[in-house]
Symmetry: C2
């Protein structure tokens, strides 16, 4: 042996950094920690009963996921998502998932259709809007993973939780309006499934792009508050981009890949 054991009680818990990352992510996405809240390393270290090293690593990981942001002086805050952020997230999803659908279509097999259909069945039975969204994201994630494109997967993960954060906020506003939208969503997904299973890469990409775009338009229609700043969202969520001379938000129609059918 080497030296005095510090705490023999500690049952060798590795990857404290990952635990902290997961814990913080959950708290942020769920809204338990409000956007804009400062995240000081010593404070978090105390809360998680860890030292600053794993906390630091977790914060870097969360920054990569877009859930927190570092200030000029390296101070960390929970990120606030503005309408512009929402548009960026959606246009990225279109760009990335169109490519994912293209690749997935070329290697589509019967088992994939079965997997997706199982998911769609669950969607039809989903009790809450939140549950429905979770299944929706899961389906999209399935296609992204199936693409086998590791950099695409990585980039997608870089916005995934930001997207869920947006969803959580919109759902918190309107937990009810589930019926009509749900049928539309599932119908859309069936069309998408058909395109993927057809094996036609162009069709799959086009359909995926149109699908995401249409669901985005629906969101904007339902919650114009998100898009124009006259928002009913929690105050901290309502952010005028605190950027340094940031350009104006590009019109949505311009940030979306339009593919002619």
């Amino acid at each position: 042996m080497n030296s005095p054991r510090k705490s023999p009680s500690t049952p060798l818990r590795r990857n404290l950094a990952e635990e902290v990352t997961a814990g913080l992510r959950e708290a942020i996405v769920s809204g338990r920690i409000q956007p804009g809240s400062p995240l000081a390393e010593p404070v978090l270290a105390a809360e998680f009963g860890a030292s600053r090293a794993p906390i630091r690593e977790a914060l870097i990981a969360l920054e990569r996921e877009g859930l927190v942001e570092f200030n000029d002086r390296s101070r960390t805050r929970v990120r606030s998502l503005s309408a512009r952020d929402f548009e960026e997230i959606c246009s990225m999803r279109i760009a990335l998932e169109s490519l994912a659908a293209r690749l997935a279509a070329t290697k589509w097999a019967a088992e994939h259709t079965e997997d997706i259909e199982e998911n769609l069945r669950q969607q039809e039975q989903a009790a809450t809007l939140g549950e429905l969204s979770r299944l929706d994201v899961k389906m999209h994630e399935y296609v992204v993973n199936l693409s086998g494109h590791r950099r695409l997967v990585a980039a997608w993960r870089g916005i995934r939780w930001q997207f869920e954060m947006c969803l959580a906020y919109t759902h918190r506003l309107q937990e009810t309006l589930a019926f009509e939208p749900r049928r539309i969503t599932v119908d859309n997904h069936r069309r998408l499934l058909g395109a993927l299973a057809s094996g036609d890469p162009d069709l799959a990409a086009r359909t995926m792009g149109a699908h995401i775009e249409s669901s985005l338009e629906w969101s904007l229609a339902e919650f114009p508050a998100i898009a124009n700043g006259k928002t009913k969202l929690p105050k901290a969520f309502r952010t005028r981009d605190q950027g340094r001379g940031d350009e104006a938000v590009p019109a949505l129609s311009a940030s979306v890949v339009v593919e002619q059918p």
Copy 2:
């Protein structure tokens, strides 16, 4: 004062982590550190005269840029780029830069045309293939930044240095064949500039996609070694994907966004 100063000689150098990141990045991209080389924290710490904390941070940053990879047991190595990686990088560039071009076209102004034309003039005078590539990347970076899409910029940076690493390798093989390719490249860029300046988002996106795709095809034609593994590349660069049951490389034509003109 509080306690004994450790080294009064240290002139307050901040951001050691960034220095290390930049130093390692340069060494990796230039090939001074061979792909596959292990990067042990204590070793690097000694080399850079730093402690492990900033080294660790630098390695995480480089992993994010795709220049190093962590193994199951968290050991770090310089990443080896296979033909599949090359294709992934290019298809990501097409997806991202097409969107960037679309956005840039909507906000294009005379000054931007001037900036690009200055760059093209320099391209025409570039003495080496490496210099030409540097200008090429700079031009593409210009468009990406002009898009004003922060997540797009972030994703692009996530593959930028990997791309340069590929370039460095191909150039090391063939430093000479500059004349014909260069004229083609510059011609392509002029066409691209026209599309961007036209203000037509669809045209800009389409042209950008085609431009990147064609330059990729040219690379594959010139250096089939890169694509098929029968390579003249340095041994460490020649990597059979050491993945765990990785799927086959999707055909290039399937990983590229084809947009009908």
